[in-house]
Symmetry: D2
Subunit: 384 residues, 4 copies
């Protein structure tokens, strides 16, 4: 059975499809499906990755790795997500992974990915990392922002930080295609930057005074049990958290500054919303030319994402709901302008676990496997 | 554009697929995709049907019908569910439908379907009806149970009631395959009967004293605005409704009696649960042979659904959550036995809008189109 | 029975208390409890008012008015909220109201209050109005902002608009005490202004560039059935609405300008949150003196509300949850400062139906009845 | 300050009331308020107890005990529930408790109460225990049902088990009044037994075949973080748990058998509902006399609870919602009869944390303090 080491020869975990999508051959034009290891399979990032790779026409899961769940049969851990062959979760040994996988998705706590990435790269396994470990070009900055983790884990992979590509697909598609290591952006940075970057790049907005007021469902806090994320605590409640100092602030600022060509400092305030999935970023900024209208800004944004199948710009006056993108890899953007003040409001919604995490990870995998970024990813929601 | 009358020649609404599933030809082995009209497209039943037919390998939507939304462009009504070509909703004229469709799915209020079905059948369009209009073999019984509707709508189609096939796919597959008219079961009957029928058929349980305690999400009440279904009213609340007299009681009793071979009267009590989707039926009955164990009953149930890809029996001690089937067409069943009393508890979960409505409708469409029942239907949930 | 016309002599609706709070005599020092009419009793504003006046030591409900529910017994309409004597809802006739009530709370749709207020005032009944009809000092402005209502209802009560006191209790206590007519502020203005006004009054913040990003539960949309407020639609979703043009913008600007002493234009964006109750305003503004710290701002805010029992300022670093004020009349405020930019963030939470509506209405009633504003109002939440 | 040892002399924690309910003197007729220790203050049981004793006219909290939170200031732990004097949580030392309290409420994990109860009773402190430790008259049965706890904790207090009174207030009022030790019933037993016992006592129903299908909000699982109770897991889901073997089965059977006068075995199946609070028990049983109507049964039930201010029987055809009793100490009951089968359905709703736990605990405290059972307890909900 593939999962125990002879993956190359055998049945792939995601192989059999009810509706005949064993059409990978057609889609991938004669190439063999790439083999993927999923490490940290029981957390939400891992679960989503497995769900998205189910029946994927060009990628096939050949290794299921987990530390705590190692040795357990998959169906015991997650009876709700049947996997072909009901594999056993394995300890994430680099040699074992390299023996059966071309690519690996790491869904591990911050700090742990940095220990597995170097040996995997050495063994020729390309990596898509869902953690924050390689999101900063500077290891020093990571050590400052993630100080708690940095105190516990010694890292000396500053070169890998420089080499890693920031996996915001619509902005780094070409570099991702040839990368060995991709750092998938955080959920908040994804929703915030998609709407903000086109305006920064065109120089249409003032670079100071940008405010991001973000709202996320509780699955963003992960699957580990925490009192604040209990239904009894988080339901019937909305509250800000991490005001001023949230870690995603510097992550957003890094790419915003790079695209704007000058240092950007902005305000980022996340709020916890009583729902499972979904993330909305409401971004406030000031137009340099107060004569620009919402229609102008919408046209500009549409142009920026003309060739991005996973980003859609809504008509002026239609405001996005997170429900419209749930369980899809789409981002919906909408803009509004207050003509009194020249204030621009950019609203962006994503599913925090898909476009905000595992789905964007699969986009990166697709590119690294030579496929179109959107291959196999859902874009139409089940509603309601 | 297909949707406005020349459907036969042109682009189908569900044609273009991101990931290359325009592989219908492969799957359906040379046959042309069947053309489907969806009538009542803006309600939840219609929306789900459209979502499920999106990228379907053997069925293609060629007509979008609605009374109130007639003349409106689809994207205005439902910006969250993009359809190729952004069609205009049309008045459900039988001639217009017959001109472009082989099959029709009706998602209309009770009583209205019965007005559209006869003219559609006359024009050679086969019908899958999501309402209760053809669920009873006796028109008289329908008129008693749906007395309010019967007072407003004159029906004289008793023969069609007799002809119509009850679309509980796992129990009527052969008859559905050749039917002109299929009445898709209600959500509660589907979840209740799937667990109950095998025991009745085998004569393993007493036919009196059966109790069904059911729990449903609020989408079961439809999309029309009602005070009781407001979030402010239905959230943070659970309550029974329709105690004793709920209409689904007689619908369940009809098939239960038929399968048992003797008249069955049972207790059915639905409860409204503060969630969008999902339906759980907890069924209590008494074993004739008190020596039977939960393992015995599980084995029997597994045998009954061995060839049913959309029904799965869980191991003893694993109890199903509605979350495990959300947005899939699967039913999960589990049984437990109290050895003290010989009481059997059968638990069944479905997504009320998929296996409990539109998904089962698509299963019927598939069979009527010569496909496997499960073709194109989702079976793996996004979790959480 | 009081409710049918002889209220003055008989048992009051809110009279009997389980725990002996028929101690109004003690509290109100010898005076007789004031008699209150509640008009629009079945909506959320009316329901909350009745709940808050239950066992109130100085106010007693003597008239229950409603247009649509007129003639119906209370327990049929709202079996969950028992009222002494189970009164019949009456048509809101001014003479009938004046015969039994000293004060009236109007919880009616915008535009309708303005038709009932003049005859009530003429008959000597003081009015607390929960609608927007008297929130603007200028009738012309009301007619612009509430243009839809203004087209249907002719108003010529510009003098009453000027006379009416804006019932933001902590800022207008003295004027409310002697008012004939009080316009209770909207829920968003209440939460936004409580945090903002002290900084404007002290001149500590720049008057332009203020941004209010607000989040509300769905009960803010009222009890009338609307599709967008169905649980199936609003659950598992967060979305902005009324971007740029929301009516509460001008209401906030009116008082903000008055307190600041100069015209203020600000950005106000509400968001719908999947919960029943609760409202959070996250207010972003810029400090004039960038050297001010969060501690400084907290101290200032504490000083401003030192004598306000319903407003509490949290320690720096403790951010308020709407859950902490649910079903209480308290507002919790918290401030944070980004020393990099001099940005001040003021967070305020209230229960939209209590401090944001009916509770603030009862504060006004209390003052008009010669009581302390907080008399009889809950300040401690049931948690969770 | 009371909380640090000199409680007898000083200000009580629950003393100062905003609205002048320092009317205890009137209510308790010249007696001094009883002093109460709350042990396990940070869990939901403890929090609710503190909330309910806030402004209580005859009981005053003088000791706050907790193991893990010992030494911490209350406001740090629970900023949302202000307590007068902001006391420090203390280690639950029996001598310290006895020095300042007449009565103690224990809200501790099963097994732990049994270690604190004997020393408290020896020191003259009467105890209301919210755990299951003293709910069985037989220690042996407790050790069987709570086998996990029994393996870790040695108990030799069989006499105390016999002495303890089962605190189902409406059925044991007289014995509670004079008890030293009261075991507050579980939430499920409370809701189930209130509806069932009158019928068993009158011999109106068959004693076999009783089925209880119960539904509870997630706060019933406590405040300790567990994966299954995360909002991301429990939201949008309903599922049975503890099928057949749930511990509350034997607790229900014990009192049911005692009241019926013969051994009762019944079926109890709990379900987890995606809401914070509320518990519904739907009880199915068979009438001995099939001629009895729902009206007959309602009359009988009303008679049984004529003098119980916290239990109300709804009219036939009005079915209770948990929302109608949220944050109150009321139980609402409703019955329906299927004349075809003589099946009786008894529906009962409570707030699991109030009448199902802390509120019933306060009823017991009240009785033990010589007060009316309902003293100071809320009976009217905030709706919605």
């Amino acid at each position: 059975m593939a999962i125990t080491g002879t993956a190359i020869t055998g049945t792939a975990l995601t192989g059999t499809a009810l509706t005949g999508t064993a059409v990978a051959g057609t889609v991938v034009a004669g190439t063999v499906a790439k083999r993927v290891a999923v490490i940290g399979a029981s957390g939400y990032g891992g679960l989503q990755t497995l769900r998205l790779l189910h029946q994927h026409p060009g990628l096939t899961v050949t290794f299921l790795g987990g530390e705590r769940s190692s040795g357990k049969r998959w169906s015991e851990l997650n009876p709700f997500l049947p996997l072909p062959g009901d594999p056993v979760v394995q300890s994430p040994d680099p040699d074992a992974i390299a023996a059966v996988a071309d690519l690996a998705v790491l869904s591990l706590p911050n700090g742990l990915a940095a220990q597995l990435v170097p040996p995997l790269l050495e063994r020729g396994v390309k990596v898509v990392d869902l953690s924050a470990d390689y999101r900063y070009r500077s290891l020093t900055q990571w050590q400052e922002v993630y100080a708690t983790e940095a105190r516990q884990i010694h890292r000396s992979d500053a070169e890998l930080c420089l080499e890693a590509v920031y996996g915001l697909v619509e902005w780094e598609e070409e570099r991702i295609r040839t990368a060995r290591l991709v750092a998938v952006p955080g959920c908040f940075p994804t929703a915030s930057l998609l709407g903000l970057l086109p305006f920064l790049k065109q120089g249409l907005i003032e670079s100071n005074g940008i405010i991001i007021d973000a709202k996320t469902g509780t699955s963003g806090g992960g699957r580990a049990a925490k009192e604040a994320l209990l239904l009894a605590e988080a339901s019937e409640a909305v509250a800000p958290y991490g005001v001023i100092g949230h870690r995603h602030t510097s992550e957003i600022e890094q790419l915003a500054s790079q695209v704007a060509g000058s240092p950007i400092q902005l305000q980022f305030t996340p709020h916890l919303i009583p729902m499972v999935r979904g993330l909305l970023a409401t971004v406030y900024c000031r137009l340099r030319d107060p004569g620009l209208t919402a229609d102008d800004c919408t046209t500009m944004l549409e142009a920026a994402y003309r060739h991005a199948p996973c980003v859609e710009v809504l008509p002026v006056g239609t405001y996005p709901s997170t429900k419209w993108v749930r369980q899809t890899n789409r981002a919906l953007l909408s803009v509004q302008v207050d003509s009194r003040s020249g204030q621009l409001i950019v609203m962006g919604v994503i599913d925090n676990l898909v476009k905000g995490q595992a789905g964007q990870g699969v986009q990166c995998l697709n590119l690294m496997a030579g496929l179109d970024a959107a291959t196999g990813l859902p874009t139409v929601p089940f509603y309601p």
